[in-house]
């Protein structure tokens, strides 16, 4: 666990825009994030692939531009011609490194596809070239400004440091931050845990959350977000996240992409897909380089 990492100097927000309705809604997140940065800039990257007519794209980008203007944000629009693939073209268009934050959408692109699985966003997350935030918007009425954030923690040994840059981006609008640590227990053993075993696992989770809470409050002294932390022993983490999101009425779930390798990553990807499908609020999947 590291102590409060410093904010990145000047993060540059890149909006990977495909012209879909989800991308329009995701652009709000980009605008809100950029509005809280010093240089107030968004680099919109669009790769025309024939899904939408140029006229439709022009009108949509115009709408984003006017909204950016209302927020005193400069929009740099870059329509890059499609080369080998949309993914490759995006990799070439967005500068690599931790200063770049790519905001993209998580949406169904084909009939049998997933919200993340098999999408360009998934490839961007896996490419690990720059920081990526893939967002599925299901509550466009939030206008990209969620009040309450649910942050499920997987018990990363480095604590909150991988999530911290993304938390900093969203923190200015957040009122309540709910940290939940789901301690996974085998479903067959869960009901047979003795009280002392239960307490020991719970204690472990609570200790971890206390460390993370301290880390956040030190790093976020400026905004003073109200932080609540919960430990849950469960066999199915997706189900628990969904229950907590409904119960706490959170407006955004912020979840780290897997850092595991095959086959664990495959299993987790399936779980994330289920979460994206059933979510009661917006979901953002992040990966820090």
């Amino acid at each position: 666990m590291t102590s409060s990492p410093a904010k990145p100097a000047v993060p540059a927000v890149y909006l990977a825009y495909d012209g879909s309705i989800n991308a329009d809604w995701v652009s709000r997140y980009a605008i809100r994030i950029a509005a809280n940065l010093e240089d107030r800039k968004i680099f919109l990257v669009h790769i025309p692939d024939g899904t939408f007519t140029p006229e439709t794209i022009r009108l949509k980008i115009q709408a984003i531009a006017s909204e950016c203007a209302a927020h005193e944000i400069t929009l740099h629009c870059d329509q890059v011609p499609l080369r080998r693939s949309v993914f490759r073209t995006l990799l070439e268009a967005i500068p690599p490194g931790p200063e770049s934050i790519c905001i993209c959408g998580a949406r169904i692109t084909s009939r049998r596809g997933g919200f993340l699985r098999g999408t360009i966003s998934e490839q961007l997350l896996e490419a690990r070239r720059f920081n990526v935030l893939a967002i599925r918007v299901v509550m466009p009425g939030l206008l990209g400004s969620p009040d309450d954030l649910l942050f499920p923690l997987a018990g990363h040994p480095r604590g909150f440091c991988t999530a911290m840059p993304f938390f900093h981006l969203l923190a200015p609008g957040i009122r309540n931050l709910y940290l939940i640590r789901i301690m996974l227990v085998n479903p067959l053993l869960l009901r047979y845990l003795t009280r002392s075993q239960y307490r020991a696992i719970y204690r472990r989770g609570l200790d971890y959350l206390q460390l993370v809470t301290r880390e956040i409050t030190q790093a976020d002294a400026e905004h003073r977000v109200h932080v609540d932390a919960r430990v849950i022993l469960a066999a199915d983490w997706v189900r628990e996240i969904l229950v907590q999101a409904s119960e706490l009425r959170t407006q955004l779930i912020l979840l780290g992409a897997t850092e595991e390798h095959f086959p664990s990553s495959l299993l987790r990807a399936g779980k994330i897909e289920a979460l994206l499908r059933k979510t009661p609020c917006d979901v953002a999947i992040y990966r820090k380089v």
């Binding site: 809100r32 299901v138 466009p140 009425g141 939030l142 009280r195 009425r249």
Partner: protein, 916 residues
């Protein structure tokens, strides 16, 4: 600094279209398709295709089910090895028990689906939307963000939507807030949290009045209603204390059985017995150790407990809740209707300055004014209208004719939620009087004077100017009444002048006329109203406290009202400071913070929302408390499911609450919950009694196998004999013990601790090493008495078909059956003999004893039973010795109880002398 609107509620109506990527003409079909594909249908069901299969399979993965299935399998194997013993029939019987239990549990989970069906009733099938510049009626499931909903009186709202046009729109949000008061919806921007905004129409609400348009921004499970629906479907109740205890017990017994079976299997292999013989004996030991009949008897006991609860107005939907209610540490109760009677009662009519009760003419005058400002109709001997207006009419009607007075009311100005007051005009003897009744703070600016019978007016009757001193005094009187948990209604009036009477006669529009008349009023007095505490509740709360159960009051009412009610019924004592939490404070508390507050002694939650019940349940559970939670509204459903025991109100509860709860209170009365707790504790006590009873017979069943393996002696009992006890003769007596009435001190001790499990060390020692050994020793003594009397000597081999062996087996079985009668009587009381509880008052105990007597005789002397059981007759003198076993076990156990009681008394006396 970013000053732009944060969320949809902050926007001007014309900006809503842009921000939701829609337009005044509505979405196009292509846009609807795209959004439908991305967001999904506007459905409130959690999609899970295999949920029924998963639910069914889950019923077979608990230890109990696994044990029964293994037992059944063992019977099948035993039948293959030795087909003559009818083990296949027993195997099928055990399998049947396993299936029945699983299906029963499955059915319990199926109820969650019924809760969803009840939820669906609040949603429309089709809705009117504006699309492609026209109005279309579309299925509600096809509504997407950006759709423009057309709202009209009587409509149900199907998605969360931002209002962009409101023509006096009023909706009923009771589904989400639990408050039935109409809510006004506006089209303008509102600064505040989304879920509290007046410009948001929420799914599940219904339009009471007016019309309007709203743009959808959240559908399905993403709506506020959808979140309630999601929780109602997804939250799985944690295992009840009894389920946890049962799991633990079955686990221990299984481990004991399997270990012993394995040890003796290996021993057999070492001494060179054949594999098949070893296998049969291993199964014998396992079957002897497993109390096959115990767990079905648990179920039967719970069923009987639920029937007894039903007679006390506690309807049990989930059997485990019967015992769970007995284990609760905390009961979280609603106020209105559960603790109180849910009716308004005029507790006082007082002078506004002195607070003294009004009488005579002043009282009559105030009631006349109050009735003028009421809207009631006479229906036979009763009145129709608002509860407050009805109560005023009743008070007025004590001395005068209500119907005649109602004829004199020429105009009524209905209660306005915003203004918090109602008004009316009556005319008597050519004089027109305008009267207003409502919250004091809403009347205060219109007052010119205050009627006074004493106090500040210096003892003279009349009025005095409504100056700062007088108004402050009135406020003190009102605050004192509110501190007692009363609702205060101020009543004021004035006589109309000629010009005003003309306005009335001309039929001036209501709002304008009311505004014109609401001035220069004379405050006539204050009506003090209360919702009386149910008379039986204070005693029930005291009973809870004596039983170590905490009672918490959770209400949406004002803290003062909540605190006063909590004090009246004994939930709290002493001063209020810091002992209650309001919803606002609760919302800001972390989970740990809330746990600290509860530990510090907070017992009252005022101005709280139904959603916060979930947080309270979670905090209590984190403190390792077993929680019972009451609820009646749709939004109470998640908390009812999250609690260990969810209790819904039968009279005023919604279908959703009833379907989500495990227990329904038929009379909504808190006292009935306490009756249920008593019954639950009795059920647990009885389960302990019959567990001890059943386990005792395991030892005499198992000992013959141990001796057979260790020594060259015949086997006293076969598997069929063991199962005839476990699944035959022990069942009815166990049911009888399950029917025992409560012990006198059942509500005088704290809830049982998890450190005192059902299968405690003491119970195991008593059942196995005392009762069991006694039964084993006596039955084996008789077994060998018959063998030796018949010419058998140590080391001599006997086949099971040998008549001598059959007779010895018969007497061993008969003696166990008879000794279980002595055991049964002893188990009826912890400290008494058992006979002191009367033998004739429990039919099942009598029936159980009869079965054991008849069967003990039949195995020895009835040829058909002898043939099935492989037993033979013995001389009657030996059968008489078997009867003596009843006295042996009963007497020895009674002696033990006396010694224990004597020691306890001695210890108690020593402790007292130490304390002195």
């Amino acid at each position: 600094m970013n000053t732009q609107p944060r969320q949809i509620q902050f926007l001007e109506p014309h900006d809503v279209f842009v921000h939701l990527h829609t337009r005044e003409q509505g979405l196009s079909q292509a846009e609807v398709r795209e959004r439908l594909r991305h967001i999904g249908p506007n459905s409130f069901e959690v999609p899970d295709r295999s949920r029924w299969l998963k639910s069914l399979l889950r019923q077979f993965t608990n230890f109990f089910a696994l044990l029964l299935l293994i037992s059944s399998l063992l019977c099948g194997i035993a039948h293959r090895i030795n087909p003559g013993e009818n083990m296949d029939i027993l195997g099928w019987a055990i399998l049947g028990v396993a299936l029945l239990n699983a299906l029963f549990s499955f059915f319990q989970e199926y109820r969650a689906e019924r809760a969803m069906a009840a939820l669906k009733a609040f949603l429309p099938q089709t809705v009117e939307v504006r699309r492609e510049n026209g109005i279309a009626r579309v299925p509600a499931t096809e509504v997407v963000p950006g759709d423009i909903l057309l709202l009209a009186e009587g409509n149900k709202i199907t998605a969360d939507a931002r209002v962009i046009r409101s023509e006096s729109l009023q909706v009923n949000n009771a589904l989400l807030t639990g408050e039935a008061n109409p809510c006004r919806l506006v089209a303008g921007p509102v600064a505040g949290r989304l879920e509290e905004s007046e410009n948001i129409a929420f799914a599940g609400a219904s339009v009471l009045r007016g019309s309007g348009e709203a743009v959808v921004f959240a559908t399905g499970l993403r709506t506020e209603f959808g979140k309630v629906a999601h929780l109602s479907q997804t939250i799985r109740r944690t295992d009840s204390p009894l389920e946890r205890e049962t799991s633990r017990m079955v686990r221990i017994l299984t481990v004991i059985a399997c270990c012993m079976g394995l040890v003796f299997f290996l021993y057999g292999v070492v001494i060179g017995r054949s594999l098949w013989v070893n296998l049969v004996f291993m199964m014998g030991i396992i079957v002897a150790n497993v109390p096959e009949g115990l767990l079905p008897t648990f179920t039967l006991s719970l069923v009987m407990g639920s029937l007894r609860m039903a007679r006390k107005n506690v309807l049990v939907k989930s059997l485990n809740a019967v015992e769970a209610l007995g284990a609760v540490h905390v009961i979280c109760s609603d106020k209105t209707g559960t603790i109180t009677q849910n009716r308004l009662h005029i507790a006082g009519i007082v002078d506004p300055l002195s607070g003294e009760p009004l009488s005579g003419e002043e009282r009559s005058r105030l009631l006349t004014c109050a009735l003028t400002a009421s809207e009631v109709r006479v229906a036979g001997n009763d009145y129709l209208g608002d509860p407050l207006d009805r109560e005023i009419a009743r008070a007025y009607g004590e001395n005068r004719e209500v119907a005649a007075f109602l004829q004199t009311i020429s105009r009524s100005f209905p209660f306005d939620l915003e203004k918090k007051r109602a008004a009316g005009i009556s005319s008597q003897s050519g004089q027109y009087q305008f009267a207003v009744k409502g919250a004091y703070e809403s009347l205060r600016p219109m007052l010119a004077s205050v009627a006074a019978t004493g106090g500040l007016s210096g003892g003279a009757k009349g009025t005095r100017a409504a100056d700062q001193v007088a108004l402050a005094r009135v406020e003190e009187v009102a605050a004192a009444a509110a501190a007692q948990g009363h609702r205060v209604i101020a009543v004021a009036s004035r006589v109309l002048n000629g010009q005003e009477v003309k306005s009335v006669a001309l039929g001036t529009e209501d709002a304008a006329l009311q505004e014109q008349l609401e001035r220069e009023l004379v405050l006539a007095g204050l009506l003090i109203l209360e919702d009386p505490v149910r008379p039986e509740v204070p005693a029930a709360v005291a009973k809870c406290h004596a039983a170590g159960i905490e009672v918490m009051l959770i209400t949406g009412d004002h803290p003062r009202t909540a605190w006063a009610v909590a004090r009246k019924c004994g939930i709290v004592t002493g001063e209020a400071e810091g002992r209650f939490l309001t919803g606002d404070i609760l919302a800001g508390l972390t989970m740990q913070g809330l746990q600290d507050e509860i530990t510090r002694g907070v017992r009252v939650f005022a101005r709280s929302t139904p959603e916060q019940k979930m947080k309270i349940v979670a905090a209590l559970k984190a403190l390792e408390k077993v929680v019972a939670m009451t609820g009646d509204g749709v939004n109470d459903a998640p908390a009812l499911k999250a609690a260990d025991v969810g209790i819904a109100m039968g009279l005023q509860g919604t279908d959703v609450a009833r379907e989500s709860a495990q227990i329904i209170l038929l009379d909504d009365n808190f006292a009935s919950i306490v009756d249920g707790v008593e019954e639950g504790r009795t059920v647990y006590d009885n389960i302990r009694k019959f567990t001890s009873y059943v386990l005792a017979s395991n030892v005499p069943e198992m000992l013959p196998y141990l001796l057979f393996i260790l020594f060259p002696i015949p086997l006293a009992l076969g598997v069929i004999h063991i199962l005839s006890i476990d699944l035959g003769t022990d069942i009815v007596p166990s049911m009888g013990l399950g029917q025992e009435p409560p012990e006198k001190d059942v509500m005088n001790h704290p809830p049982r601790s998890e450190k005192q499990p059902l299968l405690s060390h003491g119970l195991l020692v008593h059942s196995y090493l005392f009762l069991g050994l006694l039964e084993g020793a006596w039955s084996l003594f008789l077994f060998f008495l018959v063998l030796v009397g018949g010419g058998w000597h140590f080391g001599m081999e006997l086949t099971p078909a040998d008549p001598l062996h059959r007779s010895a087996t018969g007497i061993a079985l008969a003696s166990i059956l008879l000794m279980q009668i002595g055991n049964l009587i002893g188990r009826r009381s912890h400290s008494g003999s058992g006979l002191d509880r009367g033998l004739l008052n429990n039919f099942l105990i009598l029936a159980g004893i009869s079965i054991q007597v008849v069967f003990s005789w039949a195995v020895l002397y009835s040829p058909p039973v002898q043939k099935i059981m492989g037993t033979g007759p013995v001389p009657l003198q030996l059968y008489g010795l078997a009867w003596l076993g009843i006295l042996v076990i009963f007497g020895a156990d009674y002696l033990r109880k006396r010694i224990v009681a004597h020691r306890q008394r001695k210890n108690h006396a020593a402790q007292e002398s130490c304390a002195a």
